[in-house]
Symmetry: C2
C-alpha cells in the first residue's frame, strides 16, 4: 500500500445508508413483488439524503430447490437495484437469509429429512456457491452495485444460543467463508464483497466465527452494533458504553486487521426500544453516529432499518416493530431526521478523524481462536477498561497483546502509547 492510498481512503467521505425493510409485507414482499411499492420505499430513503441500501433476498424463495435458483427472483433483485440507481442509491446485497429479525429462513432441502450442515455439507455448500455467484453475476454490470454480503449474521446458525444450530469448528467456518467470498468474486469481480456476523464473533468464547475472520476475510470488516446485547441494560440509555458501542466495535475490529487501513463498515446499528425509548432515539442516533465517525477508516454507517414493520404482521419481538427511520407509512421519524442531518453535514466534506495514538492492549489468549474473547463483551474487563478511557476523553485504539511488541504494526497504525487493562482501572 502506498501512502497516497491511505490518505485518499482516509479522505473519502463516509457513506450513509439503510438496511431496506420493505413497508408492504416486510421481506415477504418477494412473494408479492411490486416494483412500484419498492420505488416508493426507496424514494423515501433517498429523501433522507442517504446514498445506499442493503437489500435482503430470502434464501428459500430465491433457491427453493438446490438446483433451482429462480430466474424471476434474480430479475426482481436486479430491478430493485435499478430502481435504487434511478434514485442515486447504491445497493449492497446479502445472499443467504438466513436470519432476519428473529425469523429463520432456511430451505427445505437443508432441514428435517434433508438436514445437512449448511456450512460443511458438500452439496449444500456447492449450492450456496452457485446461488451467491448467480446473484453477483446478475448485478455485476450495474454501476450502483456495491457488492455482496455472504448472508446476514449467518453465524447465528453455527452455535448456541440458537435453538438448533449446525455446529462447526473455527477452521470450518473460515473455509466456508473463503469459499462463499470466492463465489461472490467469481460472479462480480472486484466488487466490495464481505461477510457479516453478529457480535458473538467478537464476544462469545468458542464461537466458530472469529474476530480474525471478520477482520481479514473480504473487502471490509463488517460490524453490527446492537445495544440490546446487555450494553444498554447494564450501562443505561446515555451511558458511555451505550453511545460508544458502535465505535468500540469498529476499533475492536482493527486489532485483528492485517491491513492497517482496512475499511470497517458499521453495517447495522439501531435504536431498540424500550432500552432506547422512541423520544430518545434521535439523540442516541446522533451520538452513536458521531462517535463512530470519530474512528478512522470507517467505510460508512448503515442504519437498521429504513421503515417500521407493519403492526399487522405478527410475532416480531416488540423492539423490531419500531426500528425504522421512517414509519410504515414512509413518514420521517426523529431518528431519520437525525441521520439525515448528519449525512447532509458530512456530504462532500473531508473525513479525517485524528489517528488514535493511545491503544488499550487486549489479551484474548491468541489472535486466531481468541479463546478468551468474552473479556471484550459488555461487562467484560476489557470492554469496561476501554469505556473508562473513552469516558476520560482518551479515544483509545485496540492492540492485540501478541502484536503490542511489534513496532511496525504500531507505527503503521499511528499508535504511540500502549495502556494495559490493569492501568486503565
Amino acid at each position: 500500500m502506498h501512502d497516497d492510498d491511505v490518505v485518499l481512503r482516509a479522505l473519502r467521505p463516509p457513506r450513509f445508508g439503510v438496511n431496506y425493510t420493505p413497508t408492504r409485507g416486510w421481506f415477504h414482499h418477494w412473494l408479492d413483488f411490486d416494483l412500484d411499492e419498492v420505488k416508493s420505499d426507496l424514494d423515501s430513503v433517498a429523501g433522507l439524503g442517504l446514498d445506499h441500501v442493503r437489500v435482503f433476498p430470502l434464501w428459500p424463495l430465491f433457491q427453493p430447490n438446490r438446483t433451482l435458483i429462480r430466474p424471476r427472483a434474480v430479475e426482481q433483485l436486479v430491478s430493485v437495484a435499478d430502481a435504487a440507481a434511478a434514485l442515486g442509491l447504491d445497493v449492497s446485497v446479502d445472499g443467504l437469509q438466513g436470519h432476519l429479525s428473529s425469523f429463520d429462513f432456511l430451505p427445505a432441502w437443508t432441514r428435517t429429512w434433508h438436514r445437512r450442515n449448511i456450512f460443511t455439507d458438500p452439496e449444500v455448500v456447492a449450492g450456496q456457491e452457485e446461488y451467491l455467484r448467480t446473484l453477483a453475476a446478475a448485478l455485476a454490470d450495474r454501476p450502483n452495485f456495491l457488492g455482496m454480503t455472504v448472508g446476514n449474521e449467518i453465524d447465528q446458525f453455527s452455535d448456541g444460543p440458537h435453538p438448533d444450530p449446525d455446529r462447526i469448528g473455527r477452521e470450518q467456518a473460515g473455509q466456508w467463508l473463503e469459499r462463499m467470498l470466492a463465489a461472490c468474486e467469481a460472479g462480480a469481480p472486484g466488487r466490495f464483497h464481505l461477510h457479516a456476523e453478529y457480535d458473538a464473533s467478537w464476544y462469545r468464547d468458542g464461537h466458530p466465527f472469529t474476530p480474525a475472520q471478520a477482520a481479514r476475510l473480504g473487502a471490509a470488516t463488517a460490524v453490527h452494533s446492537w445495544v440490546f446485547n446487555g450494553t444498554a441494560q447494564r450501562y443505561g440509555r446515555t451511558g458511555t458504553a451505550t453511545e460508544h458501542h458502535a465505535a468500540y466495535l469498529v476499533e475492536l475490529s482493527k486489532a485483528w486487521a492485517t491491513d492497517p487501513a482496512r475499511p470497517v463498515w458499521l453495517q447495522e446499528v439501531g435504536a431498540p426500544a424500550p432500552l432506547i425509548p422512541p423520544e430518545h432515539a434521535a439523540s442516541f442516533t446522533a451520538a452513536t453516529v458521531a462517535n463512530a465517525l470519530d474512528c478512522t477508516d470507517l467505510w460508512g454507517v448503515t442504519w437498521w432499518c429504513s421503515h417500521d414493520v407493519a403492526r399487522g404482521l405478527a410475532d416480531f419481538p416488540e423492539l423490531e416493530y419500531g426500528l425504522g427511520l421512517l414509519t410504515n407509512e414512509r413518514r420521517v421519524k426523529p431518528a431519520g431526521g437525525a441521520l439525515a442531518r448528519i449525512a447532509a453535514e458530512r456530504r462532500g466534506r473531508d473525513h479525517r478523524p485524528a489517528p488514535r495514538r493511545t491503544a488499550l492492549v487486549l489479551d484474548v489468549g491468541g489472535a486466531e481462536a481468541a479463546p478468551r474473547r468474552s473479556v471484550c463483551a459488555p461487562g467484560g474487563e476489557f470492554f469496561e477498561a476501554w469505556m473508562r478511557l473513552t469516558a476520560e476523553g482518551v479515544r483509545p485504539a485496540v492492540v492485540l497483546a501478541d502484536r503490542a511488541g511489534d513496532p511496525g504494526h504500531l507505527a503503521a497504525r499511528g499508535i504511540t502509547e500502549l495502556v494495559g487493562v490493569d492501568e486503565a482501572r
Copy 2:
C-alpha cells in the same frame, strides 16, 4: 340413514383422479405461478379421462406470517380451481403443507426462535384455523370445489421417525383435527372436508393420530397406500399383500367407522420404483385399482401423482421422480394408460361390489387408542391373516373385537361370518 341413501351411495360410480404435481418447478411453481402452465398440466390430466385433482398450496408461501394470508396466493389457488373446472375437473385442496415428497414446509413463525407446537400452541392453531377457513371460503362458491383436506399427512410432524417432531397426545390430535375441520366447514359449509394421515395412524403403536380419528372425523376416511412401507419389500412386486395393500387399508378403516356406509377415499396410491419397476407399473396399477374397487363405499381413487418430477430438481428420493401417470413433458406413461382405461370402463356404470360377508376379527387393545395396532402393519399377524384369507378368495372385511358381539353392527355391514386371526392361520 335411510336404506335408499345407502343404495344410492353404493351405486355412485367411483371417482378417479390424481394428485397434481406441477411440471414446471414442482410445488415451488407457486413462486412463479403461471396459469398457462397449470392449464397445460390439467389438460393432460383431463386427457386421461379423470374427473378430479387434489392440489397443494405450500403453507409457508400462502401464510408467510401468522397474520398474513396472501390474497394473491389465494386468488391463484382459485384460478387453478377455475382452470380445472373449464376442463371438467373437480378440485380438492390440501391446506397445511406441511410435508410433500420428503420435503417439509413449515412457516418461520413456527420454527427455531419461534418454535411452537403446531398442534397445540393457541396462536399457531388460531392461525391455522384462519388459513383453512380463508382457503375454503375463497372456493366456497365454485361448483367444482370438492372440499378441503386439512393437510397432507400432517401426522408426520407429531411423532417419530420424523427427525424433529412436535409431540402430542392422542386427545390433543383429536381436538386439533376437530378444530381444523370446523374451520374448513366454516369457510365452505357442506363440502367434502376431511383429514388425511399417513399409514402410521393405522400401523404405529402409540402414534397420536389414530384409526378412530381417521374413520370418524370428517366427511370421509382417507387412506394413503404406499407399498414402500415394507409391503413390497416383504411380499414382492406381485404378492397378494402388495397388490391388495390399498384394498386392505380401505377395509381396515371400516372397522372403526361408526357410519357403516361411510365413504373411504383412496386419496394417495402410487407405484414406487424400484420396488415396482417401471415396466410393471401398469400391471401394479391395474391390480391395485381393481382390488380397491372391490370394496364397498369407495369414494374414489386418486393416484400419486399426475406428472413426473423434473430431473433437474435435486434431492428428491429416487422413487419420487418417476411416480407420474405422465412424464414431465406431459406424455402418457403406461400406468397412466392403465388408469385411463379403468376410468373409461367404469364411467357411468353402477358400482356395486358385493358386500363382504366374512370379517376377520381385529384385536388392537381397544378401539380408541389402538395400543396394539402394529398387528395391522406389514408383517403383523393381523395383516398376514387378512392377506392369507384374501389369497384364498375370501374377500374379508374387518371387525373390531369389541364390536364382534354387536349384532346390530354386523347386520348394518352385512357381515354374517366372523373369523379369528388364529383360525386364519
